[in-house]
Symmetry: C2
Subunit: 344 residues, 2 copies
DNA sequence: CTGTTAGCGCTTTCAG
DNA sequence: CTGAAAGCGCTAACAG
């Protein structure tokens, strides 16, 4: 009896079935479920019993189709969920979205533009109320308001030339500048640079900050010591090995992201074990990396909180959705980064 | 002209509007969009022009409401996206789901049972075709088939007593057993244990494997050296500090997950810097941790691929959805773990 | 307090 | 080859 199984083969329970079971009309069920205003208490109880007996769940999709209603969905496209940084980012988005009663539709682009385009188009078709995108960096036609059905878009971590949308960025340039300056003030004069893909705006901005600080000390980057384009740990490790083998190795190395930092630390560690390096260079590491401070390699970390970045992206989006911010002008939010002290 | 803005305030473009614009009926638009069978070529072109002029996106929610159609959504509930392990897991799920043309609805439970319950109920309301859940570990009434509207469920990483569902697990017990055995064979006899929450089945299974190996060598775990319940890095670090200060410290320490491994390594590193420890204990670390092998602490890693676990969970789910597997019996998949060699 | 009607956007019949 | 009607599950608006 309590185990009633009245669903029509494969289908799910509907209001109508609940109504029949409780001996009322669909409207009474609907009303009961949305607070019970204008429904007699005993009828409400009868309805709730039916709901629980049949295992009824209101169909939110049908519900959001009615005029005035929205889907309660936010589309989030991320380049690489496998990078711990973006896991933290997604968490920040999710937590704020939950606060606003919204759910996350998540997609991973794998840094592939076509996939990003397809994903976003699908999200729009699924009636998301807004989009948060960490763009791969290619041309942004698919990010133009028309392609998005004019739903609000927030870009995160990277900006795209020609796309005018609210954007949350790290204070890349000034973080890199401050970190590099700190190392120059400590007396270093020969500083290498390890960076990820040049097409990623973040990488460019960090490189700029790096160069600015050098310039202020009357220095220019040594082309031999600038290695860019390493997108994963093995590539970063090879790049660092190359730097360590330089005839006049640098005394410090700027690493533009967490992948490069890990590769660099692996290379240093291996070289030290092999005896080919005794005094490792000082690292200026953009992004936090677990255990990096325990490696007995002098390191200056430029820290920032991925979760905070995600949370800010979500807040920016909701300020549009709730009509708190209506200007058609795009906002840019720069999340502060903090330059620590040289450790170890 | 190309910039037509015909949407009724706030609303989105509908088939009807596209039809009017192209001077055809809604049906012709619909047919064109689903392949163009039985539509004259020139009419198709006219429709496509209208679609692109108006920026039309087919409403997938309305579409999936029609008989026979499904939502194309998979609900994924994870305990902590901030843990890199679960980022990799989510990636594995996403990639396989994309292969099957499905999208991910993602929620983070934060190890809070109430949140998990609410999330899952919402997912069901949103017509997900299936669920993949890393359960927090509490009672599983909300995971019973009736509560789920009988949609397929796959549990991941942890199992729940009383819930019969397809499950993907790591080979926790045997991995822990093999790792511990290896360390005992290397001559260690005093081995500590650092674990996460006891209510998590994974933690229990790893502890069992650990004990099994000890027993085989005629040993029993020393209660003083078994510290469980550390859920984050700071707690793990404190636990390891306590172990290091023991009057008769262990020569090896089993760490049951990545949080405990990082905490332990931090504690060892600090103690070594402070001079209070000269010969660090050997670590048996369940879960891979970036940089752990470079810490100059002898370490045996019990490795496994979070992405592979996620992918397997998704495959198991789709085998149900596609009707390839219809038995009501729950399957358990154990993902192999690999025990490496003692490093450093 | 409760039920009937109508329609959200779409597509499967069934008629032309 | 094309269109009109009908209905997926739900709930405002309007009776009663």
């Amino acid at each position: 009896m309590g185990d009633a199984e009245p669903r029509t083969a494969g289908g799910r329970v509907t209001v109508k079935e609940v109504a029949d079971y409780a001996g009322v009309s669909a409207m009474t069920v609907s009303r009961t479920l949305s607070g019970g205003k204008n429904v007699r208490a005993d009828v409400q109880r009868r309805v709730m019993d039916a709901v629980s007996a049949l295992g009824y769940h209101r169909n939110e999709n049908a519900r959001s189709m009615r005029p005035g209603h929205t889907s309660g969905l936010i589309g989030v496209a991320i380049t690489n969920l496998g990078n711990p940084y973006y896991g933290g980012f997604a968490l920040g988005v999710e937590e704020v979205a939950a606060t606003y009663g919204r759910r996350i539709l998540l997609g991973n682009t794998g840094e592939v533009l076509a996939r990003e385009t397809q994903l976003i188009s699908d999200f729009v078709g699924r009636q998301v109320e807004g989009l948060i995108v960490v763009p791969t960096g290619g041309a942004g036609e698919h990010l133009q308001p028309r392609a998005l059905g004019h739903i609000p878009l927030v870009l995160a971590a990277r900006s795209i030339p020609g796309v005018s949308a609210d954007t949350v960025l790290l204070d890349d340039t000034s973080g890199a500048y401050e970190g590099t300056k700190r190392i120059l003030q400590a007396g270093h004069r020969r500083v290498a640079f390890l960076g990820n893909s040049v097409s990623v705006s973040t990488a460019t901005r960090r490189f700029e900050g790096f160069c600015q600080a050098l310039a202020e000390f009357g220095l220019a980057p040594d082309p031999d010591l600038v290695l860019r384009g390493q997108q994963d740990v093995p590539a970063a490790r090879r790049a660092m090995e190359q730097i360590l083998q330089h005839s006049a190795p640098p005394t410090a190395v700027f690493s533009a992201n967490n992948r490069n930092t890990i590769g660099a630390l692996e290379a240093i560690s291996a070289a030290r074990d092999a005896g080919s390096v005794t005094t490792p260079p000082t690292l200026i590491a953009f992004d936090d990396v677990e255990l990096a401070n325990q490696m007995n390699v002098p390191i200056l970390t430029i820290s920032h909180d991925p979760k905070a970045l995600g949370a800010e992206a979500a807040r920016m989006l909701f300020s549009r959705l709730d009509g708190d911010f209506t200007s058609s002008e795009a906002r840019i939010f720069n999340l502060a980064v903090s330059v620590g002290n040289i450790r170890s």
